[in-house]
Symmetry: C2
Subunit: 185 residues, 2 copies
DNA sequence: ATTGCCTATGCAACTCGTTGCATAGCAGGA
DNA sequence: TCCTGCTATGCAACGAGTTGCATAGGCAAT
């Protein structure tokens, strides 16, 4: 399980409440790790009990109080240990690939609009990444270690989206060709 | 949940026992959907109860009896319905990306061997895909619908591995540069 | 002879992840 | 004024996924 570790990284980069973490997981962190607020609150309580993080209650006016968490030394040590462990067979769940192969037993044309939706979603994400890159890394010649590492992860996201986009166009061309073939074979 | 649907696709392509399905999920299907034998047996029982698949006991000599499942009409209909539903935000779990960002709070050099391991794994997988392509699709000019769709999914796998490989080399170069910088800044 | 691996299925216990709902005050628009 | 939405945290129930173990015969190598 790496949710603890993803939370630790996020808290090391910037302390925050459970709610704030949930929003980060909807944005930047969510690029490579997703989590709902339920998961996050549960894990935060466990991590606090284990001494990995420390909580400080913060009163706010006009809105509910919050608990701001920050990474503790024990958490940083646990993270360093995890870094040195070999990991994961990376479980894959690619629903669209299942659908494409399933289309052989139904109508390939029925999938076209669904694939177009995915393509548009990936195109939008790529454009968000590229804008985010320009905003957060305007000068690529002077980055510190943290920024270098954030940027190489972002480059991975960008390349992934580019590749996915090209593949989805390939899928669409294939589906359209098959649909035309079955209409007048 | 798409495990049912992945199993249906596999059984439509070729009937088989739970054990055989489990092995397929370790090989080709496992490229885009993973599952253990436990999950598979449980889901098979439910699908049989729902009338999506039919089971036929097959006696074998020299080894235990098996139950060979095949997709039923109700299953095919369910699969066609699922094809037409919009789906999934595709939950992402990219442990290596978490590790890379975590390295900013520890020693970037500690990650190098881990990333090299991943790179080697992806290189081996790419080579398996390319050999599988040559074996299963020797003549790309005469494919039926099913093969066309299988091949476009395989192309996706190949492009994914190529992209990942290039990115991991980028990650390695970045980590090595950062490691050199911190040794003599 | 024993050990280990392969086929084949399954139970039990557990953890992880998701969904629906609840509370509660404040802000902004129809 | 009412409705919607945001901040902020949490409970309860369920479903999905993992891990360890069990059975049981056959095969091959040590």
């Amino acid at each position: 399980m790496a949710l603890e570790h993803a939370i630790l990284v996020s808290l090391l980069e910037q302390p925050g409440s459970g709610y704030e973490l949930a929003r980060r997981f909807d944005r930047s962190i969510g690029r490579f790790w997703t989590a709902t607020h339920q998961q996050i609150y549960r894990v935060l309580r466990r991590m606090e009990a284990d001494g990995w993080i420390a909580a400080e209650p913060v009163a706010q006016d006009g809105r509910p109080d919050k608990k701001v968490y920050s990474a503790a030394e024990a958490g940083r040590v646990a993270l360093a240990g995890w870094l040195r462990e070999p990991v994961e067979p990376e479980t894959v769940r690619h629903e669209l690939a299942v659908k494409i192969r399933a289309a052989a037993f139904d109508d390939p044309a029925a999938l076209i609009s669904e694939v177009e939706r995915h393509r548009d979603g990936h195109a939008a994400l790529l454009s968000r990444y590229l804008h985010g890159e320009q905003r957060d890394f305007p000068d690529l010649t002077s980055l510190d270690t943290r920024q270098e590492l954030q940027h190489v992860v972002l480059r991975g996201g960008i390349e992934y989206e580019r590749m996915t986009l090209a593949w989805l166009e390939d899928v669409l061309a294939t589906l359209r060709r098959l649909a035309a073939d079955t209409r007048r074979p």
